[in-house]
């Protein structure tokens, strides 16, 4: 008897829950532990800053639920399911590593929940409708800007070394795609793992055909390892990379060996050096201020800014979606997705966003500037 009662009570609770709650619920996943944590932690800080920046949308409170995926794609999948099935979130945002993000995107498409990816995911998951968009500049664009710069610097033969994972593939494929356009030649495709202790062998291979420049497809601190080995081996050419390298520890570990590397990055990295008329100048400085207020530390990385932009995209879409549906319902999720996919000229700290169905990213070349590491600081190099 008591059992029946409790089941009834539970059922009543479950049925009553969506009706009683009209908050917009956001499920956020990042990597607070594991090998992606050095970028996952900034992602988390960025979302907290964004939440402080805008807690309500048209008077509706927003509830933010954060989970850690331990840099493990299967944990990211579990987290995404839990958020959708138990927490009934209206939107997923995540996560710090490309493989986990791809795994989450598959869940979002299956369970019909809009998702804003904060890592590059390359292509959309197989599904009849599009539920996922991705904030960061796609690797192809990141590399294209760098390849254009190589051409401007007169570099012809390029050596490549990157991670032996999805990110390494993305950068390599981007560089390959830029070959005919920028008249460069990628001579080598060497890979190393984030936990490797030495890349001497790979660097020997990279240097064997005497490249003019080397492109680094790593990220964070461990992106400095090839640079250290290159300088040990007396490499004198230019080095190039992508925004994935930009964090304070990369600069510390790389030291003199990393000096002079040019990377393509979102304008937020050099916000204070941007010309006043640049779209990102004001909002990036606002972001830095709110980040400082939330965490009492300055922000110097591009990752927290991706979370911030994801929040801006969500806030902008939610304002429009709220006109037609109530949070917590399937209608609202569909409306939110449609609103996200019709985002027009929304300035963020990284880019001006324009999403349309069928395209996973919504950024163009305005979203990238080239910055050069000079004396331990990133300098705007237009």
């Amino acid at each position: 008897m008591r059992n029946t009662l409790s089941i009834l009570a539970l059922a009543a609770g479950v049925l009553a829950a969506p009706a009683a709650r009209a908050d917009i619920t956001i499920g956020f996943v990042t990597s607070l532990s594991g090998n992606g944590s050095s970028i996952g932690i900034p992602y988390g800080r960025g979302i907290n800053a964004a939440y402080e920046y805008k807690k309500t949308i048209n008077g509706q409170t927003v509830r933010l639920i954060q989970l850690d995926d331990g840099s493990d794609p299967s944990a990211a999948t579990r987290n995404a399911r839990k958020l959708v099935e138990e927490e009934k979130v209206d939107l997923l945002i995540g996560t710090a590593t490309a493989p986990s993000t791809i795994a989450m995107a598959a869940v979002a498409s299956e369970l019909k929940v809009p998702m804003i990816a904060v890592s590059p995911i390359g292509k959309l998951p197989e599904s009849p409708e599009q539920w996922v968009v991705s904030v960061p500049q796609p690797a192809s664009l990141l590399v294209k800007i760098v390849a254009d710069r190589m051409k401007r610097d007169g570099m012809k033969n390029i050596g490549y070394i990157g991670f032996s994972d999805a990110w390494g593939d993305l950068v390599y494929n981007g560089a390959k795609a830029a070959e005919p356009i920028d008249d460069i030649k990628i001579q080598t495709n060497e890979r190393y793992a984030r936990t490797d202790t030495s890349v001497t062998a790979q660097i020997l291979k990279v240097m064997a055909p005497r490249p003019d420049a080397v492109l680094i497809g790593g990220s964070g601190t461990q992106g400095a390892l090839p640079l250290l080995t290159l300088s040990e081996r007396g490499f004198k050419g230019n080095t190039y990379g992508t925004v994935a390298l930009v964090n304070p520890d990369f600069v510390n570990v790389g030291g003199k060996a990393a000096d002079g590397i040019q990377v393509s990055a979102g304008p937020v990295i050099v916000a204070e050096q941007l010309p006043d008329e640049h779209f990102a100048k004001k909002i990036a400085l606002d972001f830095r201020a709110v980040y400082q207020k939330t965490h009492n530390i300055p922000t110097t990385d591009g990752f927290s800014a991706y979370s911030f932009d994801a929040w801006l995209i969500f806030a902008n879409a939610a304002e429009r979606a709220l006109k037609s549906a109530k949070p917590g319902t399937a209608e609202f999720r569909t409306a939110l997705r449609d609103a996200i996919l019709s985002t027009k000229e929304l300035p963020g700290v990284h880019a001006v966003y324009n999403f349309k169905p069928g395209a996973v990213t919504g950024v163009d070349e305005r979203s990238l500037v080239v910055v050069r590491l000079t004396g331990g600081a990133w300098k705007y190099a237009p």
Partner: protein, 347 residues
């Protein structure tokens, strides 16, 4: 592949292999005394590197807090077990050993740290801070199950590794570190540049494996330590204390992990979770040496390092696959060639 490149690869492999060798020797040391395959060994080495980096950056490392927490846990466990055994008179000694001593070490390190010490002192501080960790872990985790099977001890050891990685992230943060080289010397050898740091690592590996070999084969203490692994009951009857033997092994092991960590720190970027792969590759080396012989483990580990170096040149994406695939033929050969030990026989 030209001969120049082969030489560079060989040197690089020997340098990496020497690091694995240090860890492999420590793994064998702890295994021969306690029958524990101490997977977290690599983590301890990584923590030393992180500790040293924090000291270099004039921050007090998280290791201090870790040691204090472990000391409190160990003391609690020790007190409970003494009370249960009704050994009240041993309480003061337990408090001294498990609480006062480790906390005093941390306190001393903290005080010295305030004086902005030179590099030599910082190295000693890092070793001081790291040394208590293994014996304390032994008291908390392994001593209650010291009579268990090797498989049980291994399973617990793997679990402990994951716990330590989590703690490492908590106390050291997610970023990797590199410290200043201990020496800036370098020499030419057969046309290949060898850094002084590499030489240091190789020399340390040689010295340690030699010393341990002598210690275990030619001294009474060493032999008594080995006896505890072969048969705990038998060695107790002969007047050897297995618990103390374990503590000595863990202290020695901790010290060795510390030295490897200090030697690795300038040549590799060390993360809080770097220890696992170092430990695993060292373990492969130790298995090649049969888990009982120090020179064997050292040679096996250097072999792994050289194989890894050439594998990354041939096919960098498949490097780890190649290294760990080596285990299978070695294990088959070992299990066919060696006589089965007393492990399966119940005492």
């Amino acid at each position: 592949m030209t001969s120049d490149i082969a030489a560079i690869l060989a040197i690089d492999g020997i340098a990496t292999g020497a690091v694995y060798a240090l860890v492999a020797i420590g793994t064998v040391l702890i295994f021969t005394v306690t029958r524990v395959i101490f997977i977290p060994f690599g983590d301890i080495a990584a923590f030393t590197a992180l500790t040293l980096a924090a000291l270099d950056a004039k921050r007090f490392p998280g290791t201090g807090a870790l040691v204090v927490i472990l000391a409190c846990l160990a003391t609690l466990i020790e007190i409970i077990s003494l009370l249960r055994a009704g050994e009240i008179r041993l309480l003061p000694r337990a408090l001294l050993l498990y609480l006062v001593l480790p906390v005093a070490v941390v306190g001393a390190a903290w005080l010295v740290m305030r004086m902005d010490p030179p590099l030599a002192i910082r190295l000693v501080l890092a070793l001081m801070l790291i040394t208590p960790i293994s014996p304390l872990l032994d008291r908390i985790v392994f001593r209650p199950i010291a009579d268990g099977t090797v498989l049980l001890l291994l399973t617990v050891s793997v679990a402990l590794h994951f716990a330590l990685v989590g703690l490492g992230l908590l106390f050291f943060g997610p970023e990797g570190v590199r410290t200043e080289p201990l020496t800036s010397l370098s020499t030419e050898f057969a046309g290949v540049l060898i850094s002084g740091q590499t030489m240091l690592i190789v020399i340390a590996a040689l010295v340690f494996s030699g010393l341990l070999y002598l210690f275990f084969d030619f001294t009474l203490v060493g032999k008594s330590l080995r006896a505890t692994a072969v048969n705990r009951t038998g060695s107790r009857l002969m007047g050897i204390r297995p618990a103390r033997a374990g503590t000595i092994a863990y202290l020695l092991g901790s010290l060795m992990a510390g030295v490897s960590g200090i030697l690795i720190a300038p040549v590799n970027t060390v993360f809080y979770d770097s220890g696992f792969l170092i430990g695993l590759k060292a373990f492969v080396g130790a298995i090649v040496g049969g888990m009982t012989s120090y020179p064997g483990a050292a040679i096996g580990a250097v072999g792994v390092g050289i194989l890894e170096s050439f594998a990354s040149f041939e096919s960098s994406a498949l490097k780890d696959v190649i290294v760990f695939s080596l285990l299978i033929p070695v294990l088959i050969w070992r299990s066919l060639a060696s006589l089965h030990s007393e492990e399966e026989i119940e005492e």
